[in-house]
Structures are given as C-alpha cells and as structure tokens.
Symmetry: C2
C-alpha cells in the first residue's frame, strides 16, 4: 500500500465525514489494513476519531488503537465512553491492552479493569516497566506439557483461540510450568500421533528474565533468529512470550533514539510531526546551552593567546578550518564506535584494542590531512613557518580527536552512561578549545619562537 493511496483515502474519509455520511467513511476505511487505518485516524480531529470508532466493530477499533502511537491512542481512549472502551480493550492483544491502561489515568485504569473480561490476562502485565522484557511480553500464550502426545498437543492447540494466529512454535513446560523446551508447530503437525512432545522438542531453548532490558530481548531474538522468546521469572516459570513484531519496533525505536542523541538532542517521545515546536525546543536547548558553556573555553584560550594573534594575524585565518577538521574527525570516530558498541561488535574488554586501532587510523588521517593543509596554506601565500605550524597542528588535532572519539564512548559505557552522549556536537565542542590550545602551543614553538 503506497503512501499516495493512503492520502487519497484520507481525503475521501474526511469528505464523507463532512457530509456526515459515517457509513461511507467506514466503507473507505475498511479498504485499508489496520496500520494504514491508524495513520488516517492520527490525521483526523479528536471528535471525528471518537465518532468513527464508536461505529466500528470492537475488533476493528482494537486493531486501530494497537497501531496508533501510544499517546494518541491514550487521548482517543479518554474521549470514548467507558463501556465502549472496555469492549474494545477486550479485543486487544493483552500486551497492547496493558500499555494502553498504563497511559490512561490510574483511576480510569482501575475502573476499566473491573469491567474487562480479560482482566486476569492483563493484570500481571501491568507490574512490569514499559522498557523491560516483561513490559514487552504478551500473556496470551499456550504452554504444552512434556508428557503430552503429539495428538493431545494438537487437540489442545485446536481448542486454543488466540487473537493472533501467526504462531510458529510452542514452548514446553513441566507440570509446574518450568520452561523445558520448544517445539515448532510444523514438527507437531508432522510427527506421529503417539509420540511424546518431550521427545521431539528442542531442549536448548533461549529465554529471558522478566526484569531484563527490552533491548537485551531484541538483541537475543535478532542474534538467534527467534520468532518468539519465552519470558521467565526467577524460578524459570514461563510468565509470558515476546513476539518478533514487538522487537522490530524496539530495534527501530532504539536506533531512532541513538541517531537523535548523536545529533546532540534529547530523543523525541513521538514521531517528528506530532512533536510541537515548543517540545523540540525543549529537547534541544539544554544540550546547546551546555555545549555553549563548554565552547566558551575557546574564548578563554583565544584571550590567552590574543597578543600572539595580533603579532601573526595570518594564524587566525586557519582557526575555524583547524577546529572544524578536528571536530569532523572526532564525529566520524565517535559514531562508528557508538554503533559498534550498540550492535555488540565491540564491548568493554576491547577498549584498548579500539584505542590502538583508532590511534593508527588517526595517524594515517592526520598525515593525509596535514599534507593537504600545508598545500592549502601555501596557496594562501602565508609564510612557510605558518603553513608548517598549520600542518603539524592538523596532524596533532586529528590524532587527539580520533583518540578521544574512541575512548569517551567506551568510558561512558563503563560508567553505565549511554555512550550516545558523546555525540558529534559534543566531540566538536571538546575539540574546539583543546584544538586551539594545541595550535597555539605549536605556533609558539615554530612561528613565535624568538619573536
């Protein structure tokens, strides 16, 4: 379904709503899948959303609420009559229902829980933080027993009627629901009826604790190509299952947050266009001010060397170029290292290896850029000793920036700080003042010696 198509349907739905032809609006909507319907809902006015949702079946409404952004869904839920909302929540997958209940007011959530048919499935999900494995799991899962025969297992499965039917494997437990193994539905279908599940299951099953970080769940599922991951408590009892579709969202969300932080801004809580200008301002101004204060050190350094500058004015021409090159070299390193940490290509024990790697890269780049800078300076007809100073300073600043860019994210990780704080803007600001210090120190040794 192309985006153009969604826009056309949006226009048609809005036109139908203006004509107060609800049935026609719903007919247009029903040509789409629920993620696209959710997109259209997000473009409508709140009263239009509420009216439409009351005329859709609870099943369709549930699908749309599941696919909307969490905060938009909560706002819409607030606008619905409580009884209607309860019927819709009953049709949602338990993990999505729990997320929604977590986003409405506590009083409303408590009241809704008394009205829900599926309250028993949803309640245990509410105790886990949103960003933990427990917050990601669903309580809608079927556990097979080791001593069931394949025929018994298939009968159990036939009578199970889940909201989602894209199941590829089942987890196997003992009588006390301790996780024992996993078996694929395909295998169950193919095995002879009297064979025990315990004898065909794979005992080497990967699981995660409910309290673990959701990112760990995502990494495990991605690394081992899992479609479902069982969540266990401290006694290895299965308490839920994480499905791969939730993990896709987590991976995408984490990458988005990393990229926003690497640009030197706080991550947004919502998609870009839903974030107000004021909110964007608040997410950015803090870092900018902090960087400004740190950046003020450049002024301090320049004031120290003010007299040298006035004696050799041509030195000042290279200031932005020199610190710019240092900042750029630092940003390159820091983004590469931070991503390597995030996907697990390197970890803390590789710290020295990484530094050594980057120092060598820094020397190579420093030599290259130093020569390049020397040629550029000569072309500006500055005195040769100034050109030489520029070349040496570029070399030193690049090696310095590259080393810092490789150490700082690792140090941050060791201190349990998100390494993305060492963003490109942070790197260039750090390199600005220190780069100037390096530049003028070399200038004093080369150009200003004896002046």
């Amino acid at each position: 379904m192309s985006i153009q198509n969604i826009d056309q349907i949006l226009d048609l739905v809005q036109y139908a709503l203006e004509q107060e032809d609800l049935d026609q609006a719903i007919r247009y909507l029903s040509t789409l899948k629920s993620p696209d319907q959710a997109d259209i809902f997000e473009e409508l006015e709140e009263d239009e959303q509420a009216v439409l949702l009351q005329h859709l079946s609870p099943e369709d409404s549930a699908d749309i609420l599941e696919d909307m952004e969490d905060e938009e869904a909560a706002e819409l839920a607030d606008a619905l009559p409580l009884e209607k909302l309860a019927r819709i929540i009953d049709e949602m997958e338990p993990d999505e229902a729990a997320d929604l209940l977590g986003d409405v007011s506590p009083e409303k959530a408590r009241y809704l829980l008394t009205r829900l048919e599926d309250a028993a499935e949803i309640r245990p999900l509410l105790i886990h933080p949103d960003d933990s494995a427990g917050g990601l799991m669903t309580s809608e899962f079927l556990v097979l027993l080791e001593d069931m025969t394949c025929a018994e297992a298939l009968t159990t499965i036939r009578y199970w009627n889940p909201e989602q039917d894209d199941i590829s494997y089942f987890f196997v437990a003992d009588e006390e629901r301790h996780l024992r193994g996993v078996v694929s539905l395909l295998r169950l279908v193919s095995c002879s009826p009297t064979v025990r599940v315990g004898s065909i299951m794979d005992r080497d099953v990967i699981s995660i604790r409910a309290g673990a970080d959701q990112e760990e769940a995502a990494r495990l599922m991605s690394r081992y190509d899992l479609l479902a991951l069982p969540v266990v408590n401290e006694r290895n009892v299965i308490v839920g299952v994480i499905t791969v579709d939730d993990v896709l969202d987590v991976l995408e969300e984490e990458a988005t947050e990393d990229i926003q932080r690497l640009g030197g801004a706080e991550p947004l809580d919502q998609p870009y266009l839903l974030t107000s200008a004021w909110e964007l301002f608040r997410k950015r101004i803090g870092w900018l001010m902090l960087l400004f204060v740190t950046g003020s050190l450049t002024g301090t350094v320049l004031r120290i060397f003010e007299e040298d500058l006035s004696r050799v004015v041509s030195l000042s021409i290279f200031i932005p170029l020199l610190i710019g090159t240092g900042g750029n070299a630092g940003s390159q390193t820091t983004n590469t290292i931070i991503r390597a940490l995030a996907v697990g290509d390197i970890d803390l024990k590789d710290a020295f290896l990484t530094l050594w790697h980057e120092v060598r890269v820094g020397v190579l780049i420093g030599v290259g850029m130093g020569i390049f800078g020397y040629i550029r300076a000569i072309m500006w007809h500055v005195p040769p000793e100034v050109a030489f100073t520029v070349a040496i300073a570029i070399f030193a600043v690049v090696v310095w920036a590259t080393s810092m860019g490789s150490i700082l994210p690792v140090v941050a990780t060791a201190l349990k700080i998100d390494p993305t704080v060492v963003s490109g803007p942070v790197m260039s600001t750090l390199v600005d003042a220190t780069g100037l210090l390096i530049y003028f120190t070399i200038a004093r040794m080369v150009v200003l010696r004896g002046m």
Copy 2:
C-alpha cells in the same frame, strides 16, 4: 548466552587446538548455538577454521557459515576442498547458499553449481542483486493451492521437509502459481478436514516485487507485522519468500550505515574490529578532504574581514563559539529530520511543513541562545555593542542552520541522493563560512558603522 561465556569457550577451543585434540575442540564448540560458534570461528586462524570445519558435520558447518560475516565465510569457503564445500552448501538455506556463491570467484561458483544437489533451488536466486527483495528471499517455500482441502494441505505440509521449520503461514496460489492469499498453519490445523483452503485463506495478502529495494521489504514487514513476505514477479507469480529474520538484519545494517554516514564517514562493509586501520582511513579521508576544501571558505571570509578584525579584536574571541553553536543546532535538526525520513514519519510532501516547523524551533532556540550569548559576552567585559552583535549573530546563525538542516535532507531525498550525506560534519562545515559572513555583516552594521 553471555559474551563472557563465549570468550571462555573460545579459550578452551584454542587450547584444545594447540594440543591438536580436534575432538575435544569440537565437543566444546558443540555446547554453543551456531551464531556463537560463528563468533568463535571468526576469532580463529584460517587453517584452524578449515581443519575444524572438515571435522564437523556438513549440517553444523552450514549453520556456522550462515552465521559468519559474508566476507569471512567466503574466505573460509575458499580454503575448503571443493567436494566438502559442495556438501556443506547443500545443507545451507538456499538464500544463504546463493549469497556465498556470489562471494566466491565466478569460476568456482560455476563449478560448485554443477556439483550441488540443490542447484535448481539456488540458481534462480543468483540473478537478483544482493540488496533487492529478490536477493533477500529464499526459494525454499511451499505453495498451497486454493482448491486443496485442509486435510490435503496438511498432508502436503507433512511431506515437506524444509531446512528451517519455524513456519507460521503458507501462501496460497492458483494452478499457475499466481499469488491468491495466505493462511496460517494454526488455522489449517484447526479447520475441519474437508474445508477448502481457498475458503479460509486471507485474500488481502501483501507482496513485493523481486526487483524492489530490500529496505522496502523491511519497512513493509515491520509496518504490517509480517513474519514472511511473498516475493512475486511482474505476473504476480510467487518466486520466493522473505523471512523476518533476514529483515531484522537488514534494518540493523541500514541503521548502522545511517549512523556511520551521519558521523561523516562512508559506511563500513564489515564489523568494526574486522575492518583494518587502512580501510577505516579510506572510508573517512574522502569526506574529511571534501569538508576541508569547503571549510577553507572560512579562511576566505576571514581574509575579507581581516581589517575589521584588526580594528575590533574582541570580535575574534567569539568566532569558534558562534560557528560551533550554529553547527550544533544544524546537527540536531539534520539528524532528527533524516531519521524521520528513514522511518517514514515525514516524506517529500511534508517539506514545507517541516521547514515551517524548524523555522519556529530555530527562532525559539535562537532567542534563547542569543540572550545566553549576550550574558556570556558581557561577563567577558567586551563593549556592549560587541555583545549585542554576538547576540544578534547567534540568533541569525541558529535560525539559518536550523532551516538549512531541515531543507537539505529533504532536497537530497528529492534528488534521489541518500539524505544521510547531510551529516552533522557537513552541516557544521556549511555553517562555518556562512555563519562568519552573517557575523561580520552584522558587526559592520552595529559595531563598525562609522568607524
């Protein structure tokens, strides 16, 4: 499986290999899952790899080769005897086998194809580019027919014996293999034996053309929570299936490339520690030199205003701070916009909306930072008109950088250029020279007027 554990096993395997106790080395290895075995293989010497692989079963060897980085796998494949390699490739999933054949020499690939039992499955996969939907798909899939009964379908499924058994749904076609629908295995298991597949399948099935970009496949599967996506040719005939595990890798790879480009470097082809210092140098030096040349414009601007500078020396103190702030504000915007484009939160038609959004954010940030800068300048005891110049210049540079940071990624996308070229380093370099121009123009109007 924690990383510490893998490192311990690596030590044990290496020790066993030194003692030339191959059986023990293989026993240690066999305690791990194949992605972890692959990690260990990547740490071993090439001759150790080859010896081990020849003693493992073709099935285990195939799993390890599948989980190794493409280039490492190809190197290792090159070191194996051809007959042994052919037996291993026969055990690989067809899409992985095709990738491997694409990475060895063309002569070797042609020879291997004559020796493979599964050549017929692999051959059609070889014609698709690696980064297309066709390059991602597997040819190992089972198509059900509309007029099969559920009992017939299940019998067909029982006799099918795929390498991978984590199947959750099957695609349904007509006699000419035109895609008609999709049905979950759970549904097939639950339906009564005489019911036709065509009557229980979901006709609203999402598919992708073989030539489409792999990123489009990833977005579709992520948006619609699909575990498998059918790939069709121009006549809607099913030619393959993409599974969600391949898509997880694509999404991770694309995010890694974006982050590396946003740091102002060419994306790496391999994990960080496998990339040599020389290769890292080559991936970074190009952009640095280009940025250096662009950055040289700062020198040109400074030379134009050299006389003004020498008259009001205090102006120079603020140069790094001013252009730094502009660069930081630009990086914040550009990272946010590029990610919003990548995940589909905004598209080309939102260009003006985005610009308007960012101009407002820029004005808010500009006012805040302008006031902040004024206070900082006053604290340095510079003349009030210089402080005023700095404040106005910061405001103007921030609004300018924010606007550019929002326009340029969109313009790049419109020109079919990857928007990540507008990285933080590119933004700060662009803002450096233009920011100086803005600064001195304002200085001439405010401070230097009448001097």
